[in-house]
């Protein structure tokens, strides 16, 4: 059967697509920044001496990594609503993203911390560095530099998974696509356009992370080699 593609009828919707794409990027940036903070603290918690804290952080990571994101969204969004806490949809969507990406970040950061040789930490202790100094200068900065590629890859994946928040009617790119296709009756074309937009955004984000990495890790920029 022949099918006539009609992308022209979607032209009038381009401001909508743009708005959705910007919202997706906005949600991703907020979620990744907060997720990184949670991930770092969680990774530190898992290494720490307090047994209960390590267990708690470990349980959080394992639970998030072994359940689907969609279930987490429903659990948090509908759960909070049933408990009487009605969050705006944008906030709820970002909250679920932070909750999700925080666990993945924690696991990546922990892997990076494991590559720091114990001798380095002992040397820092011998030099009389305080615990925050040791964590920041000796453990965190080198390990973040080492895991930067996987970290940025995870953030790009998070941008793509944010499409799932359309299921709680967040008006990001996929949400916009759903309403456009129900108005224009051009579902196939709509989703092809959106797929192209996501692809472009993924490439853009990868490039931005590359530039950002060059800017914040001067050693890598100068030598051009991984740590």
């Amino acid at each position: 059967m022949r099918y006539n593609f009609d992308f022209a009828s979607l032209q009038e919707y381009w401001p909508e697509f743009l708005r959705g794409a910007l919202m997706t990027l906005e949600m991703t940036v907020i979620a990744c920044v907060l997720g990184l903070v949670i991930g770092v603290f969680c990774a530190i918690g898992r290494r720490g001496k307090r047994k209960w804290l390590a267990t708690l952080c470990g349980a959080y990571v394992e639970i998030v990594r072994n359940t689907p994101y969609l279930i987490q969204i429903f659990f948090i969004f509908f759960g909070l609503a049933s408990a009487g806490l009605k969050l705006p949809i944008f906030a709820a969507a970002v909250l679920t993203m932070v909750f999700n990406v925080g666990a993945y970040t924690a696991e990546i950061v922990r892997a990076g911390m494991d590559t720091i040789h114990p001798g380095q930490i002992e040397a820092a202790e011998a030099l009389g560095l305080s615990t925050p100094q040791i964590y920041w200068d000796v453990i965190l900065r080198p390990s973040l530099e080492r895991v930067y590629p996987s970290l940025s890859g995870q953030f790009v994946l998070m941008m793509l998974s944010s499409s799932v928040t359309s299921q709680i009617s967040a008006e990001e790119l996929t949400g916009v696509a759903n309403s456009v296709q129900s108005e224009s009756f051009r579902s196939f074309e709509t989703f092809i356009v959106v797929a192209v937009l996501y692809f472009a955004m993924a490439m853009l984000l990868k490039f931005a992370f590359h530039l950002f990495g060059q800017a914040i890790f001067p050693r890598r920029r100068r030598l051009g080699t991984p740590l």
């Binding site: 059967m1 099918y3 394992e62 639970i63 990594r65 072994n66 359940t67 689907p68 994101y69 969609l70 279930i71 987490q72 429903f74 659990f75 509908f78 759960g79 609503a81 049933s82 408990a83 793509l160 998974s161 499409s163 799932v164 359309s166 299921q167 996929t174 696509a177 296709q181 579902s187 196939f188 989703f191 092809i192 959106v194 797929a195 996501y198 692809f199 993924a202 490439m203």
Partner: protein, 221 residues
Amino acid sequence: MMGGAFTFNHFVYLLQGMMWTVVLSALAFVLGGVAGFGVMLMRTARTRLLRQISFVFVQLVQGTPLLILLFVVYFGLGVVGIELPPLLAAGVSLMVYSSAFLGEIWRGCVESVPRTQWEASECLALTRWQTLVDVILPQAARIATPPTVGFLVQVMKSTSLASVVGFVELTRAAQVVNNSLFTPFLVFGIAGVLYFALCYPLSRWSRSLERKLNVGRRQAA
């Protein structure tokens, strides 16, 4: 409470959904594995065109959300006149999705086999296929097992998206139950526990396989 309490029947309904989650995961994993093997062959082929085509394919699939892929397959094929049942639509999109990821994982494993193994096989006058099947793949398979099992977890979680096109697997079943009871913490909590019960053993298995593989390095360190 709107619709009464959570009963044993609701639980059985969720378990049935869970069964479909397993079926869909298996379908996606097996089909995706076969296609992924093809992607891996193309990514490591000697013909540049094949390498380029498969590279673009992998980039496209990895650069678009699975949800969008699902919509494109579901609406796209419907529009072209092929009416797919939701199971098949979800199966096809998950197959495409897994083939790109598995192909890329396996390519990495094949390329991590030392170059000299290829050269030695060439010296022994093995054909390219013989080299691959008899020399390279047995070595690559060892390295490939942990990440492949890890990806199976990923596939299993991704099947939850099939609920969006109306396929009644675990997530959809949980939605249905929740719509009648409106006890989201309980219903989605149970669904989460069921997913966890499926995925966690696989994650553990993947990690222990990885540890076994790294025995040499661990002792050296």
